[in-house]
C-alpha cells in the first residue's frame, strides 16, 4: 500500500479498514440489488394477479358486448388514485373494452395484441403527471372470451422495495459499523501483542556493547515472520563475537610473545657485568618493557571494556600503588608520598584499571618533577585523587593534546612514547570519571581525578 506508512500496526489497520469498507459497500449494494430484484418480481406477480382480477370481472352484457364490472372495493381502489394504477382491456379484435384513463386507452389502441406469455414494459413520462410506469400486458381468457389486458403501476412509488430496504437498514445494517470497529480493534491489538517480543528484542539489542558481547536477542515468542531477522542478527553477533575473541586472543598472544623475549633480554643483561654502555642498554630495555606494557594496555582497553562496577577502596589502592612504585622513585632520586584522608574510601570502578591509571600518572609525574623533589598523591574525601609534581607544569596550549595517543610535549625528554596519559584517559572514560589538569603552587602540574562514589 503506502510506502510512507512505516508502522506495521498502522498499515495493517489501514488496510483492514479499507477492506472492511469495500466489503461493507459490496454487501450493502448486493443486498439492495437483490432486494430490488425480489421487489421487482413481487411487483411483477402483483401486476399479473391484478390483470387476472380484471379479466375475471369482464363479462358479456345483455347486448352481447364484453363489459368490466368491478366490485365496489376494487373500483374504489382504482378510482382513488387514477394516475397511480392504470389498466386497459381490449378484446381480440383490438376494441377497447375498458380503460382506467383515456390516455392509457389511446396508448394501448396502437399496441399489438398481447400474448398468453406476459410481456413486461416500461413507459416513460406518460400521462398528465408525466410519470414513469412499469406494467405487464397479457392475453387472458374470460367469460367474454380472450382478452388483452394491460396493467401498469407508476414507478417511484414502489413501497415494497422501500420497505425491504428500510427493514434491512434498521434490522441488519446497523451492526455492520460496530462489527467493523470491533474487528479493527482486535486486529490492532493482536498486531500489537504479536510485536511485543520484537520490542523486547530491541531493548535487548540496545544493551549490547563491547563489554556485553555475549548477549543475544531472545528468539522465543518472536513472531514467525520476524524470526529469520532475529536469527540472522544473532548469527551476525556470533560472528562479531568471534572477531572480538580473536582480537582478545591476539592481544593475549602478543603479550606473551613480546614479554617472554623481553624478560629474557632483561635477565641476560642482568647477568652481564660491564661498563656504562650496559647501563644504557638496560635503561633502553626497561623503556621497551614499559612501552610494550602500555601498548598492550591500550589494545586491551580497545578490545575489552573493563568491568567498572566493583567497589574499590581508593585509599588502599593508592597506598598499594604508591608503595609499589616507591623504589622506582628512589631509584630516580625522587620521593613519593601519599597524603590526604587516612581511611578507606569506596568508589565504583575496576581496581586494576584505576591502579593502571595511577601508575601511569605517577610515572609521568616522576619523569617531570625535579631531582630530589617529591611526587604527592592525595586522596580526597569525595572520591577524588590527585597527583602533583613540582616540575615545569603543563603549558595551557598543550593541555588539549596531552591525552592524545603518541603526543609528546616540545622540549620534553624523549623518555616515553606518549601513551601513558592516553591510557589514563581511556580508563577515566570507561569509569565515567573526570580528569582535570591544573597548576601546582608554586610550580608543577596537578592531575585531579574524580570517581563515582560507591
Amino acid at each position: 500500500m503506502s510506502r510512507r506508512i512505516k508502522s506495521l500496526q498502522l498499515r495493517l489497520t489501514v488496510e483492514l479498514a479499507a477492506l472492511f469498507f469495500v466489503a461493507s459497500c459490496l454487501a450493502v449494494g448486493g443486498l439492495i440489488y437483490s432486494a430490488s430484484l425480489t421487489a421487482g418480481s413481487l411487483a411483477d406477480r402483483e401486476l399479473g394477479l391484478r390483470a387476472e382480477d380484471l379479466a375475471r370481472y369482464v363479462s358479456l352484457d345483455e347486448n352481447g358486448k364484453p363489459r368490466l364490472e368491478l366490485p365496489p372495493p376494487l373500483k374504489e381502489a382504482y378510482s382513488a388514485a387514477p394516475q397511480q394504477s392504470v389498466f386497459a382491456i381490449r378484446d381480440t379484435d383490438g376494441h377497447l373494452i375498458e380503460a382506467s384513463t383515456p390516455e392509457i386507452g389511446a396508448l394501448t389502441a396502437r399496441w399489438p395484441q398481447a400474448d398468453t406469455e406476459p410481456s413486461y414494459f416500461r413507459i416513460s413520462k406518460f400521462g398528465p403527471s408525466e410519470r414513469d410506469y412499469s406494467g405487464v400486458s397479457i392475453r387472458l381468457d374470460s367469460t367474454a372470451g380472450p382478452l388483452s389486458v394491460l396493467v401498469a403501476e407508476a414507478s417511484g412509488s414502489n413501497q415494497l422495495v422501500h420497505t425491504i430496504l428500510r427493514e434491512f437498514v434498521f434490522d441488519i445494517a446497523w451492526y455492520v459499523p460496530p462489527f467493523v470497529a470491533l474487528a479493527l480493534l482486535v486486529a490492532a491489538l493482536s498486531v500489537r501483542r504479536g510485536l511485543l517480543p520484537l520490542r523486547a528484542a530491541s531493548a535487548q539489542a540496545s544493551a549490547i556493547e563491547p563489554a556485553s558481547i555475549g548477549l543475544r536477542l531472545p528468539e522465543a515468542d518472536v513472531p514467525a515472520e520476524a524470526l529469520p531477522l532475529v536469527i540472522a542478527v544473532n548469527r551476525a553477533l556470533d560472528r562479531l563475537e568471534q572477531g572480538f575473541v580473536i582480537q582478545r586472543r591476539f592481544t593475549a598472544n602478543a603479550a606473551h610473545e613480546l614479554r617472554t623475549p623481553l624478560t629474557i633480554i632483561t635477565a641476560r643483561l642482568d647477568t652481564l657485568e660491564g661498563n656504562g654502555q650496559l647501563a644504557a642498554l638496560r635503561e633502553e630495555v626497561a623503556r621497551m618493557n614499559r612501552l610494550v606494557e602500555q601498548l598492550l594496555c591500550v589494545a586491551r582497553l580497545d578490545s575489552v571494556a573493563p568491568d567498572v562496577s566493583s567497589p574499590v577502596d581508593l585509599h588502599q589502592l593508592a597506598e598499594e600503588v604508591v608503595g609499589s612504585m616507591a623504589h622506582l622513585a628512589l631509584g630516580a632520586c625522587r620521593t613519593i608520598a601519599l597524603t590526604g584522608a587516612d581511611h578507606s574510601f569506596l568508589v565504583t570502578g575496576n581496581a586494576a584499571a584505576i591502579a593502571d591509571a595511577l601508575r601511569n600518572l605517577i610515572e609521568n609525574a616522576l619523569a617531570h618533577t625535579a631531582t630530589g623533589t617529591e611526587v604527592i598523591v592525595e586522596v580526597g574525601p569525595d572520591g577524588s585523587i590527585s597527583i602533583q609534581d613540582s616540575g615545569p607544569g603543563i603549558p595551557a596550549e598543550d593541555r588539549p593534546h596531552i591525552f592524545e595517543r603518541f603526543w609528546r610535549g616540545k622540549g620534553v625528554r624523549a623518555s616515553g612514547a606518549g601513551l601513558g596519559l592516553a591510557i589514563v584517559m581511556e580508563i577515566v572514560r570507561a569509569h565515567g570519571a573526570s580528569i582535570t589538569v591544573n597548576d601546582c603552587v608554586p610550580r608543577g602540574a596537578r592531575f585531579d581525578l574524580r570517581f563515582r562514589t560507591a
Partner: protein, 225 residues
C-alpha cells in the same frame, strides 16, 4: 638449597638456573604442570618459582595440589602484569609472593631469599643486607663487622625491613609487629623509632638507608655509591 623452577620457556628457565646457581641454589626445572607435580611429590624443595601460564594446564592447579598435599614450601608465582585476577587467585591459592613479567633477576633472587628468611624458612637465622648482618635468633647486629646496639623494638623494626629489603614496609605492618613484642605500653610512635634506627645506621657507617614514603611506610635500600 634446592629450588624448583616451573617454567615452560626454555631460554628463561636456563637463565634462571644459571643465575640462581651462581647465588648458591641447586635448581631443577619443570616444563609442565605434570612434571612440576611429579617433582614436588618426590623431592622436598626449599622453595618453588611457578609460572602461572603453563602449556599443559593451569599453574594454579599445581599450586592448589601442592598445598592440598600439605607442602608448606614458599612458592613465588610469575604472572603477566595485566593478569590481576591470576595474581589474586594465586595468592588466594597459597602463593607466598608474586612477580610480574618482565622482572629483573636480582629482584627475583631478593624475593626468593626474603621468602626463605621468613620465620620457619630455611634462611631464617641470619639476615644480611649491605654491610649489615642481623642474627634473628641471638638478636645480634653487626654493621661493617662491628657489633652495634639497638633497643628490642628498634631491632624488630630493622628485622622487618631487612626481611623486605628494597620493598615497601607499610606502617601498619611495623605497628603490628611492635604491638606483639611485649605488653609494655609504648609511648613512642613508629617515626621516633625509625629516627633512632636511622641515626644508629648512619653513625655506624652502614651502607643502608631508610627512606620514608609519607603516608605509606618505609623502604630499606642501599646508599648510592
Amino acid at each position: 638449597m634446592r629450588l624448583l623452577v616451573i617454567e615452560d620457556e626454555d631460554r628463561l628457565s636456563g637463565i634462571l638456573k644459571s643465575k640462581l646457581g651462581d647465588t648458591g641454589f641447586t635448581v631443577d626445572i619443570a616444563r609442565s604442570a605434570a612434571d612440576a607435580s611429579a617433582a614436588l611429590e618426590l623431592i622436598n624443595y626449599d622453595a618453588a618459582i611457578l609460572d602461572l601460564g603453563l602449556p599443559d594446564g593451569d599453574g594454579l592447579a599445581v599450586l592448589t595440589a601442592a598445598r592440598r598435599a600439605g607442602k608448606g614450601l614458599p612458592i613465588l608465582i610469575l604472572t603477566a602484569r595485566d593478569a590481576v585476577e591470576d595474581r589474586v587467585a594465586g595468592l588466594n591459592a597459597g602463593a607466598d609472593d608474586y612477580l610480574t613479567k618482565p622482572f629483573a633477576i636480582a629482584e627475583l633472587i631478593a624475593r626468593i631469599k626474603a621468602l626463605l628468611r621468613r620465620p620457619g624458612g630455611v634462611l631464617g637465622m641470619t639476615l644480611e643486607a649491605g654491610n649489615v648482618r642481623l642474627d634473628t635468633v641471638a638478636r645480634e647486629l653487626t654493621i661493617g663487622g662491628i657489633p652495634a646496639r639497638l633497643s628490642r623494638r628498634e631491632l624488630a623494626i630493622l628485622e622487618q625491613m631487612m626481611r623486605r629489603f628494597g620493598r615497601i614496609v607499610p606502617k601498619a605492618v611495623l605497628e603490628e609487629k611492635l604491638y606483639g613484642i611485649d605488653e609494655e605500653p609504648d609511648s613512642n610512635p613508629i617515626p621516633v623509632h625509625i629516627h633512632h634506627v636511622r641515626r644508629q645506621l648512619e653513625t655506624a657507617g652502614a651502607s643502608l638507608l631508610i627512606h620514608t614514603i609519607r603516608g605509606v611506610g618505609y623502604i630499606l635500600a642501599e646508599t648510592k655509591a
